[in-house]
């Protein structure tokens, strides 16, 4: 299946009502030869998704689009038109890292024989370019409350998105090493942003639906998982262990593990913030 067709199929089959994403995905401007039967994501991927395919290059481009998105976000946040008092030192650090990550991934895309595509348009109100569908207010870069809400979504989702990519690169240690190490930097970013929002550094259960409950729930879907793998085919429900049977231990059990995104959620994220 052609990768772009694959993305469209996911969009139409799994998340109706977000059609602007189709245009977004076409702007990738490349036809991917999707031949490898790779499992996308981990146990959280739905069976239908797990059977679909994408090349490693497709997944690199996905990671690159995430980094571009974050780089653009912090670039606008540090521009002359932004007004985010008290955050400038942090924003410089964040912009610096995302810029380095994007550059690194662009290098991998080229080294893999791929072409770095044109960047999409960005919509940091998360409406996919449609103001009537915006999740966030339009004061993203002038109101720290709005800004940090968007930042938390991007960073927490970024951590989960990387986890969905790792298995594709398990035989390429150079790329896997970089992706893993970028991903823990994203987790540091996420934890700090959460702290600035007076949230715990870690995600507890479904995080109450995130910064905008009802709209940002997908960012935390599946984070309430209590079953972790013990072998390739078996799992352990940690809340069945004597030490963690108490209902009060449920939240800590979910906090002790960050879950991977299903690839549909990566697409949902990109569909909201780009067009």
């Amino acid at each position: 299946m052609n990768f772009l067709t694959f993305l469209d199929a996911l969009g139409e089959a799994d998340t109706p009502g977000t059609l602007p994403r189709r245009a977004t995905l076409h702007q990738l401007g490349r036809a991917a030869a999707a031949a490898l039967p790779l499992a996308v994501g981990t146990a959280l991927a739905t069976p239908a998704v797990a059977q679909r395919a994408g090349t490693p290059l497709d997944f690199l481009l996905l990671a690159l689009r995430l980094e571009w998105l974050e780089r653009e976000f912090y670039t606008r946040a540090t521009s002359a038109s932004a007004n985010l008092p008290g955050l400038s030192a942090d924003l410089q650090v964040l912009k610096g890292h995302e810029t380095l990550h994007a550059t690194k991934l662009e290098g991998f895309v080229r080294a893999s024989g791929g072409t770095v595509p044109a960047q999409p348009n960005y919509d940091f109100t998360a409406g996919g370019g449609d103001p009537t569908k915006a999740i966030f207010a339009t004061d993203v870069f002038t109101n720290p409350v709005t800004f940090l809400s968007v930042a938390q979504v991007l960073e927490d989702a970024g951590v989960r998105a990387y986890k969905a990519l790792f298995s594709t690169f398990i035989t390429d240690r150079t790329i896997l090493d970089v992706l893993v190490r970028i991903h823990t930097v994203e987790a540091r970013h996420a934890a700090h942003i959460r702290k600035l929002r007076n949230q715990k550094a870690w995600v507890s259960k479904l995080d109450g639906g995130g910064p905008v409950p009802g709209k940002t729930d997908f960012v935390y879907a599946g984070e309430d998982n209590v079953k972790q793998p013990t072998t390739a085919t078996a799992t352990l429900d940690i809340t069945t262990l004597d030490a963690y049977k108490d209902a009060a231990k449920l939240a800590p059990v979910t906090e002790a593990f960050d879950e991977a995104f299903a690839s549909t959620s990566v697409q949902q994220l990109l569909g909201l913030f780009t067009y």
């Binding site: 964040l94 990387y162 970089v178 190490r181 987790a187 540091r188 700090h192």
Partner: protein
């Protein structure tokens, strides 16, 4: 072979090792090599093993040491540690215990050794009498854990266990950030933990185990069978 750790140890030695309660010991010193009356072999290290199970065993030992650290500092916290910060350390402790017990279960499900009862963990070499000392020690253990996981990810050969490692690694980074934010605001991703390429600093198993061994007795852990490049 029920236990991969014993693949190179013959039955008599296995029995010895099990009775010694140090069942992962695989590196033996023979006091009189070449002599038919070989003395009882004496284990000198606790090998972490090799492959994905070795990597997860390595993570388990890290979690054991970290959990022991938080148990100590939350059981007898310094008076200068504010209640809210003590609560945060208790939350981190619980995460470490959960991760430790899960990894022990995973390893035992794969015929590996889980928790080791013969291992003593002591922090008597650390001064932990002030808020600053406790938080600085916590920061070091968290940054060590992140560096360990940053360094180990690329060595996994099973996607299942790579996913396990990644689920733990980002939580470790969240812990590190929570502690760093208490010590120095905005030090969450400073240059001592994120390198000039924007990548998380990584450490080899041997480097990390050398640090852990400062607190472990009577036998040190050995990462000699794990990749160390």
């Amino acid at each position: 072979m029920p236990n991969a750790s014993f693949s190179s140890v013959e039955p008599a030695r296995r029995r010895f090792l099990r009775s010694a309660g140090t069942a992962v010991a695989a590196s033996l010193v023979l006091a009189a090599c070449g002599d038919d009356n070989t003395p009882t072999p004496v284990p000198t290290v606790l090998s972490l093993g090799s492959g994905d199970m070795g990597l997860l065993s390595y993570f388990l030992r890290l979690k054991q040491v970290q959990a022991a650290f938080y148990e100590k500092v939350t059981t007898a916290p310094p008076a200068s540690l504010p209640a809210a910060e003590l609560d945060l350390l208790k939350e981190i402790l619980l995460h470490k215990q959960i991760q430790r017990d899960y990894l022990a279960n995973l390893l035992s499900q794969n015929s590996q050794n889980g928790l080791l009862t013969g291992v003593e963990i002591s922090f008597s070499s650390l001064s932990l009498t002030t808020r600053a000392e406790v938080l600085e020690a916590a920061r070091k253990f968290e940054d060590l854990g992140v560096a360990a996981m940053n360094g180990a990810g690329k060595y996994f050969s099973s996607t299942t266990f790579l996913a396990v490692a990644s689920r733990l690694a980002s939580v470790e980074a969240r812990h590190a950030t929570a502690v760093r934010d208490l010590i120095q605001p905005s030090s969450f991703a400073a240059s001592d933990v994120v390198d000039a390429e924007g990548l998380g600093v990584s450490s080899t198993p041997t480097a990390v185990v050398t640090e852990l061994n400062k607190y472990v007795s009577p036998l040190p852990f050995s990462a000699a069978s794990l990749p160390n490049s």
